[in-house]
Symmetry: C2
């Protein structure tokens, strides 16, 4: 998996989508944000995370977890609680946090056809992985 | 809602999380990306979108939709199909696309207590919206 991307398993799993607007100035933000990103990745049940912040201070971080108990445990982590408090008091002028259940996932940029369906459709026409997008989907 | 944030209703609704790494050079990307962002917002069932790209070319765009049919319609939009093809051929060295059902959502940075629970708990202690995070959650 290229740098910056979370290597997640087949769905279902959970995504915590955190969109935030930074206030002006650092106020200890960068160091803590980096530490929290690394700490999150060490949490039991954390599958990975992706994070981007633009020049205008708008950022999106998506952290992936196996299930709801793993999300709750991370929310209650003591170091994370301190960071959450500082985030509210100093670092963010606004944020939106959404918890979502990932139902299906694709990757590319290989031209996409559902690998699994194709493989099912013709055993004599084996799937060439590099020909198409990986397709990760579990019917619910 | 501050600029850059999607003003979404109470869950449940859907999030399409698109994480991508840009190739070097523009190759028509910026103009098309902007056009697609605006076109997505006009789609029936699109609730809003949030998008950030960092200096390293990693980007996260999250578009919110009412339901699966709205996501499918956007995926099949003819102008969007052209952009998807160009994205695979020119613009992205890698991407991950995840479709997720948003189950609950919060916003801040006001110190958060669940507005709804508090309001329910005491009619004599009315919720002051500016005192705390807005809390949007529907029990499933």
């Amino acid at each position: 998996m290229p740098a910056g991307f979370a290597s997640t398993p087949e769905p279902p799993y959970y995504a915590v989508i955190f969109t935030s607007q930074r206030t002006a100035g650092d106020h200890g933000y960068e160091a803590t944000a980096q530490a929290m990103f690394e700490l999150a990745l060490k949490q039991p049940g954390c599958l990975g995370a992706e994070s981007v912040r633009g020049d205008n201070g708008l950022g999106i971080t998506v952290a992936y977890f196996t299930d709801e108990p793993a999300i709750r445990a991370w929310k209650q982590n003591s170091e994370h609680l301190v960071a959450q408090r500082l985030g509210k008091e100093r670092w963010y002028s606004h944020y939106e946090l959404r918890v979502a259940k990932v139902e299906r996932a694709y990757s590319g940029p290989e031209l996409s056809r559902p690998t699994r369906q194709s493989a099912k459709g013709s055993a004599r026409n084996p799937v060439v992985a590099s020909d198409r997008a990986s397709f990760r989907n579990r019917q619910q």
